[in-house]
């Protein structure tokens, strides 16, 4: 039986290469005159109100290419599939490729953390935003924030808070506890089915003791629920986010990197970040 599963999977991967016909190259994007931005409403990257750091970034990129901008809303479970044209799901640090699905976009930009399993199926741009996974609880939680020290010591101190608590995460995102070493700690993992932006409200509603949030989302949460968010400490090393591209579309990635370098040099990118994440400069003063 396992042999037949493998045959099916092998067939799917072989056909995958031939079925990218609906995916578009940089030249085809220019010919058709539209750049399709795949995005999941998340933090201040894609607000869902027609703006956001990633939305403005890709709008400027479309203008740089001389084409029309089109936003294609999607979900965390489908975002990579709808870029690559195949079902993709994580298996530890590996990615499993499944059946063919329609391609709906040319790139992903919504605060997509650079993770090893994603790098197997995507090419990332130069890092566009720094991040780190923090442990967050409601203000009323008895858990006490750590006292800051060195980065590694802080992670160790934060992990000491985990035994016995219920921790909420989300699959297929960088907030999946299974991606990190602390997954083996004696804690209860609760997977959240809703939108990533609703993770902390779920904790406020008592669905778990605490949750994981990456820095951009934590900054938004602190702004949105002043006095109700308790940051306990970090649970990961510093990470980075980037824009995701199909592996067979290196020209588009190169074009973006060139555009992104110019945007940083002109200071425009710093202004954009300041508009959506004014507090991030306090944490990562050197990144921008």
């Amino acid at each position: 039986m396992k042999r037949f599963h493998l045959i099916s999977l092998a067939c799917a991967i072989l056909l995958a290469l031939a079925s990218i016909s609906s995916a578009r190259t940089l030249d085809e994007i220019r010919q058709e005159g539209v750049l399709r931005h795949l995005g999941v409403p998340y933090a201040n990257f894609v607000t869902g109100q027609g703006d956001g750091l990633s939305v403005e970034l890709i709008q400027r990129f479309a203008s740089y290419l001389g084409v029309r901008y089109e936003f294609v809303p999607t979900s965390w479970s489908n975002v990579i599939s709808e870029l690559t044209g195949h079902q993709v799901k994580p298996d530890g640090k590996k990615a499993l490729i499944g059946a063919e699905v329609p391609v709906r976009g040319d790139l992903i930009a919504n605060g997509l953390t650079i993770l090893p399993w994603r790098q197997q199926v995507l090419d990332y741009s130069d890092p566009t935003f720094p991040t780190q996974v923090w442990l967050i609880a409601a203000a009323a939680s008895p858990l006490k924030p750590i006292t800051p020290s060195s980065d590694q010591t802080d992670i160790t101190a934060t992990r000491l808070l985990l035994p016995g608590v219920s921790l909420m995460g989300k699959k297929n995102t960088c907030l999946d506890p299974a991606l990190y070493p602390f997954a083996s700690d004696p804690l209860t993992t609760v997977y959240f089915d809703g939108n990533l932006n609703d993770l902390f409200p779920a904790v406020l509603a008592g669905e778990a003791d605490c949750t994981l949030l990456d820095v951009p989302d934590a900054l938004v949460a602190i702004s949105r629920w002043p006095g109700e968010v308790k940051v306990l400490g970090p649970l990961s090393e510093q990470q980075a986010m980037g824009v995701g591209f199909r592996k067979d579309n290196p020209d588009l990635r190169e074009a973006f990197n060139l555009f992104y370098a110019q945007l940083r040099l002109s200071g425009t990118y710093r202004e954009l970040v300041k508009k959506y994440y004014p507090a991030v400069f306090d944490y990562y003063p050197d990144f921008f």
Partner: protein, 1107 residues
Amino acid sequence: MLVSRYEKRIPIFLALIVLMGLMGTLLILNYRAQLQQQKRIRQWTQTEFNASAERLNLALQRFMDETAQIANSPEVTAFFKNRALGMSMKYGLSTSLNIIRNLFANQAGEHTSSPQRHYEAIFLLDEGFQPLTTWPEQKAIFLPQALRVAQTKPCLLSYEAKLYLLSPIEQDESAVGYIVTIIPYTTLHEFLQPRGKSSQSPYLVCHKNTLVFPLLAPDQKRILCELFQHSTSENEPATISHPGDLTQALQRPFSGNVFLFRSSIPRFALDLYRIEDAASLYDPHLPLMLLVVMLLFSTSLILFSLRLVRSSSRNQGLSENLMELKIREAALSDKNRELELIISGAELGTWLWDVPSGAITINEQWAHMLGYELHEINHQFDTWIKMVHPQDWKRVKSRLDAHLAGSTAIYSADLRLQHKLGHWIWVRDIGQVFSRDEAGHPILVRGIHIDITELKTALNRAEEARREADSVICNFLDSLLVVDRQLRISRVNKETCQLLDCPEQQLIGLPISELFVESAEIVNSSFDFPSRQETEHLEELRNIELTFKGCDGHSVLPVSVNLARLTNEQGETIGVIAGARDVSKLNQALRRTEEQKRFIENILNIVPGGLLVLDDTFSLQQQNHTFDQLLENWHWQYGFRNPDLRQEILLTLARSLQHNSIGEFSLSGESGELTIEYYASLATAQDERINRVIFLHDVTRRRQAEAVRKLHSTVLKQTSEGVLITDTDGSILFSNLAAQKMSGYGSEELQGQRTSLFKSGVQNQTFYNNLWTTIQAGNIWTGSLTNRAKDGTLFEVETSISPVRDDKNTHISHYVSLWRDVSQERALQQQLLQAQKLEAVGQLAAGVAHEINTPIQYIQNNLTFLQNAFGDMDKLLVELQRCTDTPEVRQAVLSCSEIKEMMAACDLEFLREEIPLGIREALDGVDHVSQIVGAMKAFSHPGNVDRVDTDLNKLIQNAALVTRNEWKYNAEMETDLDPGLPLFSCDPGAWSQVLLNLIVNSADAIKEQKAVTLGKIRITTRSFDGQLELSVSDTGGGIPEEVRSRIFEPFFTTKSIGKGTGQGLAIVYDIVVKKHQGTIRCDSRVGEGTTMILRVPLTSLSEENQP
């Protein structure tokens, strides 16, 4: 006269007096109004200052409120809450400070486009007055010592020309921090400015009786405070007549009076002062100066008006007389000039004859007319008489005498006078007696001479010409007629009389229409052409074909008539002159020539191609009508842009004729290429205009057809699909390379063979009969055929056999068979089908195990019951068996009463009733398990290529059973199976796969809806019109329109990750459509559900095996 002049001036004097009085009154009123205006300006300035103070009051209140709002804002309180929770600046707390910093920036207007910013700085201090964050960033913090005491409510303080506002931040009823905002007084100064304009006036502010703005030295402050004591009223400004102290204190010059305006804001203990130089408000001397200037101006205006009135009345009379005189002089002068112009323009000689003395007075023109100068003429009447021609004198004298006698009103005569050079000139002499004596004798006679020599010469010449014309007409060899305006004959010549055999007298006066056979209307319309509107501009009409009618009334003569207009000297039309020529013989010759020409042209025009005649320079001399038509057709058919296609053809033709007299050439247009074939005669030198005759015709379609035929032939030979062409008996006429390769036969081997050569035995005779029936009916047959190759191996081909009809499209003449080799494809599909089926079995295994588990449970329960029951009964049976043993043994047997007790204890009656029930239940369970196992076995059996007659309803029941665990938690299944459904020939394993895939898809679609209530899967079967229909519908989410066309593609799925491999419907399509020649229809509505309708031809195996 004097009285009247004074009377005239009285109204003027009265008007002047009234005007002076009016102007004096207006001047006084204006002066008073100026003084009132100055007072109003002072009051208005005070009111405006009070309003400014009120604006400042409101602004200060707003700043106090804003400072308190910042202190109580959620952002600020959140920071202190987060700090109390233990959060560190490294992890989260600095975000709160950043938010507060943004709040400060927003409050200070940093993010707005407004240029007005009031706050100089905003501080967040902790409870020990240590700064936490500031706006602007990096702002150095200075707090007056007076503020550094614990505060429990908002307060304000003035220090160094700045206003400090402080508001405590409270948590749990104690101050945990403070918000301090700083506003410079220079900013507050803006609120004191009059609205909409900027004032240069100095403003001074006292807070709690201390001058806090502007910053001044103590001495200056003291001087100002003493001055402020003068100003106690907020309604009227204090006036400072000697502003020397003020100038010293404020280091600013003041001129004359100074006004000190005062206003106060008691709530904040603020007193406000505004110092205004009187000269900046208004000019105090302005009313008096204005009065004097206006008085002087009014006086000078009145005097000037008076002088103007007087002088204008005196000049009026003089100018009227002068004007009339000028008009008369001008009229006289005009008349004189007119007369001189007439005399000189008409070159008239004037004379005045004093009859009694005989003296004459003449002008220069009179003398010049006769070649003399004025002084050469003897001014006596006799001189004139001598000049008169002797032949004219008698006539002249009689007329002159008659006039002198008063018989005629005017004397007039044309006479000849001798020129100085000796020749005679004609003169028209006109005169009139101007005065007579009392006896009526003439005294003065005045007259003129007009030179009419040229006129007389012209008249003579005209007369000569007329006589000459008459001679020409009479003696002209062709017939000539002159017709007057009434269309009657006025003159005829001799030739006309001879042609008509009529004397001239009979013809003169005759209407012209009576000379011709044609109707009067036709004849008159020609001869009257100068009067008709359409021909009145013509001078002549030529070649009018008419027929003379002889005077005998029988003879006729065709003539060609030319008509010309006849005009008099004034250019007026007086008639028509007609020339007629006998054309009877010419007409006969022309008719014969015309008939021959038409005959030849008809022949050339019906030639089916272009016919050209070229001269020796290849210039086109003649072409037939067909060539013109061809040119026109070629233009639009091939899209030639060159308008002169004819010339392009001739040039190309000239080049081609250098090589061959027969050949073809091509020309490219926008819509295609034109190919022309030409046949040219050999060059001849007999006639320079006819060097070659060339025949052209369009062979484009023929050449295209040849190219297409060639392409078809190549394609047929080289295409990757096998092609066989047979006659109607199935004998092979043509086979291409692909067909030869698939079958292993060579071209010669196949030629003439029947198609039965490929029979493999896989298809039965019924199959072939159906095939032949289809194609003989003129329809296309498509399907899969397994053929036998030359080496005996089988190969499967997707075949399409099409009938080919003859040219008249009435009978089938050939069949074309197309083969596509699908042997490898079939093998792969078979493997894939089996793989997918086993994968599905694997996925179903857990559910099937669960289904088996339930009957196994109650089988186990019943067997346990039977085991226990048998234990009880076994004891009883042992005792009963002993009763039948030897007496020794029997002694040990229990008594009957004890056996009864034993029977009662094991409840024999109960066991007799329940044991059969238990056995039946266990057997039912075994049956159920057996059914499930059977269904699984039937389902997982490898695909059978051979078809068997199958009960589809049974397959559906099996599929529902093995998939039960897939749908029972989300849906309920409803079947509507036709009990009379006939068996149909199919591969049951493949159809089990079809049913499984459709049911699992429906179950997944319902499951993804995540509905609270159970969905529904409905399966129906029915048969009609030789077809079997299977319908599977669900109440799932439906298939989106954009992917509906792709659902049968291999490896395409819309299911979420891990749910589908994208092969299910592709396999269904392969089994139903390709293998069983069926159809699949997908009806789906997003949000409502999907129905898959499968139809296959209903043929049973028994039918197929019929001979």
